[in-house]
Subunit: 349 residues, 4 copies
């Protein structure tokens, strides 16, 4: 048996870091060395991630205590990694960053969408964008990977076959995401206070959501593209459902659309086309994906117009964060892409 | 004090009928005579509507037992009222129908959206369409009123000022409704079984939803109009949030849009424009409307495109059904429009 | 028409204060003068209580700005009122305190249950304990009333007929309350963060809950009494269900128990005995009580033992706080006890 | 590698059968041969269990088509297995029954708790009762195992160390279970209709719950024992929290109670003692256990009385059904007891 890959997690007290730690502890070819949290130094990781009780006795360490390893996962808040990237690169030959810091290729996009210039624009080309279904080869060859935003992942995977094949009108796509509360991270606020947040159907960023920048980058293929994106927070913890209204350039029957998706994703281990004639789960349903790395995609063509509705579901902390990162990790190391990502989800839930 | 209006409810075991009964029992100028249910004849109405315990000792009667009264509320399943309309018209000079049977003006729309021809197309012009904010005068003068569909009500009220003023592109409006389970009525099914329905984000009618017919009728002003409508069922019992993506024909600042809405709805007792800079409730939120007759409307203009996002919330059983019907009732009788509809909603909830 | 009672609310930004304000605005014999909040001085009350939009233009004032009025409602955090009681008493001849500061008759109970001595023990006898069903006459004659704790209210009302009639073993009663998140107030914390609090079934105070002190006081009738109380927080915002396991001193048929409850509560406007043979709501259900002042009580006798299970449900912010306070207010002023408390609750919800 | 164990599932369309199938498909030493469902013969198992999409192409077969195998899992409704047991025993040398049909040792208990005599009382002694922590040796030696009821499992595991050591009063234990909707199975009914079942806190079997029979059998150690059991259904799909009020025969400090539990369960792979001084998860929390085979147990001693509150949480479909069955399966075959049961649960969820 080959030596295990020694990894550490920088910023391991949050939700994405915690889910990543859970996955890594179950990966047979990984040894988790260190997990950092400045706020919880010295505490057991299971004090923050109670599902890991009896699973590990690791304790949080400070970033200053980090030692060298084979690969560092960066799970810091947006804006925190770019300033420390040299330090992290000095600790490990490989990096997978789960923040937004290196997702966008065009430095100007940071000014527009994140409101300030990027600290290290010259490094942006060095990162592979982490959606494996689109960039598998780049990820395989890269030492640095930047995981995609969760909403962006759901939407890009849902629409990629259409835009890649030039089938969709580039001016008119409208996307509405229904999102859970874990997307907002683990810091309590008035907005996340249970009596306020429970039962809510809260418009979050009707316009101007940052993840739209990634969608445009990945679906535009170098040309202008309008993605009219809105998000609505609902009473759910994990999960994203993206409902995408695409206007087709030419008439297409559903059978033909099936073919487009099958060609794009036929062999993908984590994409399922979900489109049933009966039953409760005729379209993708995020609750079925909790804990899994699947992206389920369905669609329905409006027989009376040129609209195609594409529905895409993921677990935002898995395929939208930790699972995606581990999938990229597997590709980088030549492991079976599903290693450590076998969980198939629960029903009922 | 003038004599009370004597009313009866036909089909009072369902959710809309039950909520209407609750409202009517609290209306000082109403006397509830009879409530029918073929299935529950002889049972106390509170056996089906447990919130009415200690509130009334009425029992369900059969439709055959109906006696004449001043006004009949029809709360039958879609398709049931049109065949019996002569009988009901013989029992009361005034009718308010909460089903879809007399909502559409064009008989051909019944063929297209409901899949079969209308039984009494000659009667369609006799019904006023029940959204009071659009048809107050017609309702005042009419003896027959047809209440609007719940999703249609939320969308029509949200978009009416824009379409009436010719501000919106007529080809490109995309509307996504998030809806609760009470919209599906009170009959249990595999789809409504709690372990399946709880926590779900279920695409319901991505295309072809019948309520789109009403939206086109009311917002088209006699011309072609495309409303690209989808609905998603979420883990909520009451409530609708409609997120409407409208593309403006010309550049408009938010201030100007404010003015359009204020002019349209400034004096309306049940419309509130909700658009705050801070707090948890910056946009309309259906949970705050449970039990109320309000339609809350907000909007946000995308500064980078011609898209205007309009967000509209109602309680589907109130402004979307029973409350709307009672508001029309008040108008028909010259009562204060808010009579019996004073409940202001709960917070937190 | 007589002059309205002029009232003010001290501490009106919280949940109980907000619900009380909603009720008072709908009470025909009340004029709300002032609502205080030190933190939100100058803001519209509807900025904190969004259900009051379009209902009032009141703004929060500071306690320092309070002017004299007919009655002050005190909705301050526990421990805040006792030190300022002279000031409040100087502003209004009548006080209704919703905090715990004057609930317990025995000063020593504050040491034991609240961990420090009472600041003004000599005033404790001047307050009537606010459960109207037990202390109607005392409330009628009193100028100062202290509202009961929410859990205490549900349990005391559920068990009062049994203990008053000496039917229950005094050593063995076990009570388990299921409670919603609004009970914890409107301050966000890690514990109330939605991803943590949602879906939870969280043991809260398995032993040592302060409300037990009130239960012992009211049900002990001056003698030793053990109430073994625990609370569990569930994924609900409003509502309490108390499941009380009582051991009867002698064999009693259910019919006889019915009679005991009917005699105790037969004429009470806000108590309903709920015990059905069929249907979904055979026992009290808190969701049906949201926004109402009802306390629904049911029971089942174990045919194989001496155990009687009593189930009691309330809305913690209504019968457990604001509604109870308004009921006492009505009694103090000789108004119809249901005035302003007519809302009958929603179904479905 | 040794030959895999060939297993089939009788009654595989329900929730327990579906979860068992999921587990078995992931067990490296198992080959799933057949899954029966009379109602869904010929359909893909993933049409009922959508989480198994892309995981298996198995289709349901009829019981008549069953062929011989190494072990049969029986997941039939209560009362169905006992009449067919000879047929099943003829098909496989080993049986694990998840129904109630062979749980109780005393045939008279079937008369009392299930309302009719047992069809094959002579077979009851041949079944080992499936709670592995109590009957590991019996299970190891047995060919027939009967899995315990879900509520019974949570309560028995929570209380076993106390009763085994004679520490608890045998007259006074009161147990209250909070349960999710999946406990009721996958058949829709009025009671499970989402608008009624959502948000509910529904008293279910305040007295007379059948699972109490198992608790008495397992905790009584051959002597009289009173377990005063009630269940309350809450808005949750998976999960059980049992709050058990035990009265200690003698004074015990928490430290001593710790020791009792540690001695009983110190080496158990699926029992965790959860009792923290801080954080959101100081006591067992069922949502953290979704999909896992853990039973988390905590306790708090009332310093002012002889009451000990023991809190026990499981996933009713896992440790309360499918997981428990697989754990027994592992023991019967000498496999690592955790094989196929490694999932550690999600957080947040």
């Amino acid at each position: 048996m080959p030596a295990k890959i020694r990894v550490s997690i920088v910023g391991g007290s949050g939700y994405a870091g915690g889910d990543l730690l859970r996955l890594l502890l179950g990966h047979p070819q990984v040894e988790v060395m260190q997990v950092t949290s400045e706020r919880f130094v010295g505490k057991f990781v299971h004090s923050l991630h109670p599902n890991l009780r009896k699973r590990t006795l690791l304790k949080f360490v400070s970033q200053e205590e980090l030692t060298s390893c084979d690969l560092l996962f960066l799970c810091l808040p947006h804006g925190s990694a770019m300033g420390k990237i040299d330090r992290f690169a000095g600790l490990a030959p490989r990096l997978i960053d789960l923040s937004a810091d290196f997702r966008l290729k065009n430095p100007a996009d940071y000014d527009r969408w994140y409101g300030k210039p990027h600290a290290r624009p010259e490094l942006l080309p060095k990162f592979a964008y982490g959606i494996c279904e689109l960039h598998r080869e780049a990820i395989r060859k890269s030492n640095w990977v930047s995981s995609a935003g969760c909403n962006a992942t759901a939407v890009i995977l849902g629409l990629y076959p259409l835009f890649k094949n030039g089938l969709a009108d580039k001016e008119r796509t409208v996307v509405e995401v229904k999102a859970g509360s874990s997307e907002g991270g683990n810091s309590a606020s008035d907005a996340s206070h249970h009596p306020e947040r429970a039962g809510c159907v809260r418009s979050y960023r009707p316009t101007g959501h940052r993840h739209a920048a990634e969608m445009i980058q990945e679906l535009g293929f170098g040309k202008e593209l309008a993605i009219h994106f809105s998000a609505t927070s609902i009473d759910m913890v994990r999960g994203i459902l993206a409902t995408c209204h695409v206007f087709l350039k030419r008439a297409m029957a559903e059978k033909e659309i099936w073919k487009v998706y099958r060609e794009a994703y036929g062999e993908e281990p984590f994409i399922r086309i979900v489109k049933e004639r009966e039953g409760n789960y005729r379209y993708p349903e995020p609750k079925l994906l909790a804990g899994t790395n699947f992206c389920d995609i369905g669609f329905e063509k409006d027989p009376h117009s040129d609209r195609l509705v594409v529905v895409s579901a993921i677990d935002n902390l898995m395929k939208g964060a930790a699972g995606q990162a581990l999938q990229a990790f597997n590709i980088m190391h030549g492991f079976d892409e599903s290693q450590g990502l076998e969980f198939t989800g629960l029903h009922p839930i």
